[in-house]
Symmetry: none
Subunit: 239 residues, 2 copies
């Protein structure tokens, strides 16, 4: 399994370097930067100390889509609770989940220094991770948050050597791209049926995303659901 | 119980500020600096962000003795194993020990950025803490090491009050009866659309049950799904 750390719109290159260092101490190597403000940058190299190889191999992309397209399990760090509750787990629960996951590619998303992840980005996630900070002061530094998550992943990996029950599954998990294809199809069918009104969408698609994201669909289930949409949709929406 | 973080001979004031921030996010407040190279310092304030109160209240002393005189349990972080084996525990074990300790004052020692704690300092400790870093690269940043330890202390403190990550949800879970009503409706719509053939049902409903059962639907989601079935189904199947 591959676990990538995805930093979105990072402002301070020093945080990118410190993230690389935090990752390397815990045996992680895949860093993806979505539209960073300044990268490459001397400050990133300085803060990475001996982990410059991670910076050199970092993938820089324009959009979150490019960063997670092939991922089948996506977790996002979030300090706040949201209007629509999403499955929230602790770093330790995340590590357990990742270790026992059948997903080939896992992405863990970290948002902007000031404002974190947007609602739209959070809705791309299967789960949200909340680091149990003190209610008086929740402001973890970005690289410190990566350090905590990476540390839990490492502890879980080390403890895994006494392998607990691995769940067998019949089909591979759906990729992020397959999920987005399904949501697009679903949305179009609901608009055609006049069930979803684009001018007043309310929380409908958000609720449907939350429902299907927390299930971790497999590729066969995606096929079935899209088959149902095609069978039930109006002819013009049969994609 | 009071747990203090003791930094010995810190070279970079930025690390002192980042340590203050790491502590505050995890609800720790007592910082003791043994003979720091530069303190107070603008870089410390900058890196502390909102945790400057911890810097202002930090105790600056000349010797380790002054820092730990009234402590009854002392733990020191150490990357290396020493010539004379010492009790070594993980950050998690440390947190358990501290939480259940009867000591009024606990000190956790962090050494120099380059060279850590001296043998003499390590021998002042009851236990040594080893953060399980990757053998290829063990060089945690000082504040990152504080963050990991402080995080474990907080997780242990929270688990002691017996509050696991409580997930708030907006609607009550669907009852078994609601689930069965939904499956009946779904089945009828799929039969009407000729997608499910009663004479050759294959595993379709089984797969759909597995999908929706493992999600633990809430009552609002059931309403939405049945609304969709009604909107997309043939008129005769609008139950």
């Amino acid at each position: 399994m591959n676990t990538r750390i995805v930093l979105i719109n990072t402002s301070h290159p020093g945080n990118i370097g410190a993230t690389a260092r935090a990752m390397k101490t815990m045996g992680l190597s895949q860093l993806v930067l979505v539209d960073p403000l300044s990268f490459p940058h001397a400050k990133a190299i300085e803060m990475a100390v001996g982990a410059t190889d991670i910076l050199e191999n970092a993938l820089v992309v324009k959009t979150l889509d490019e960063a997670i397209r092939d991922c089948t399990f996506i977790a996002g760090t979030s300090a706040r609770s949201r209007a629509i509750p999403w499955p929230v787990i602790s770093p330790r629960e995340l590590a357990e989940k990742v270790i026992h996951s059948t997903s080939a590619n896992v992405a863990i998303l970290f948002g902007r220094e000031q404002s974190g992840l947007t609602n739209e980005e959070l809705q791309r996630c299967h789960v949200h991770i909340q680091i149990p900070s003190h209610s008086d002061y929740t402001s973890l530094n970005l690289a410190a948050a990566v350090q905590v998550i990476a540390y839990e992943l490492r502890v879980a990996a080390l403890s895994q050597t006494n392998t607990p029950t691995q769940m067998e599954w019949d089909y591979p998990p759906a990729t992020s791209q397959e999920m987005e294809g399904f949501y697009e199809h679903l949305k179009q069918v609901l608009i055609d049926a006049d069930f979803l009104k684009p001018e007043a969408p309310r929380q409908l698609m958000t609720r449907l995303r939350r429902l299907f994201n927390r299930t971790q669909l497999d590729s066969m289930e995606i096929n079935i659901l899209r088959g149902i949409l095609t069978a039930l949709g109006k002819p013009q929406s049969k994609l």
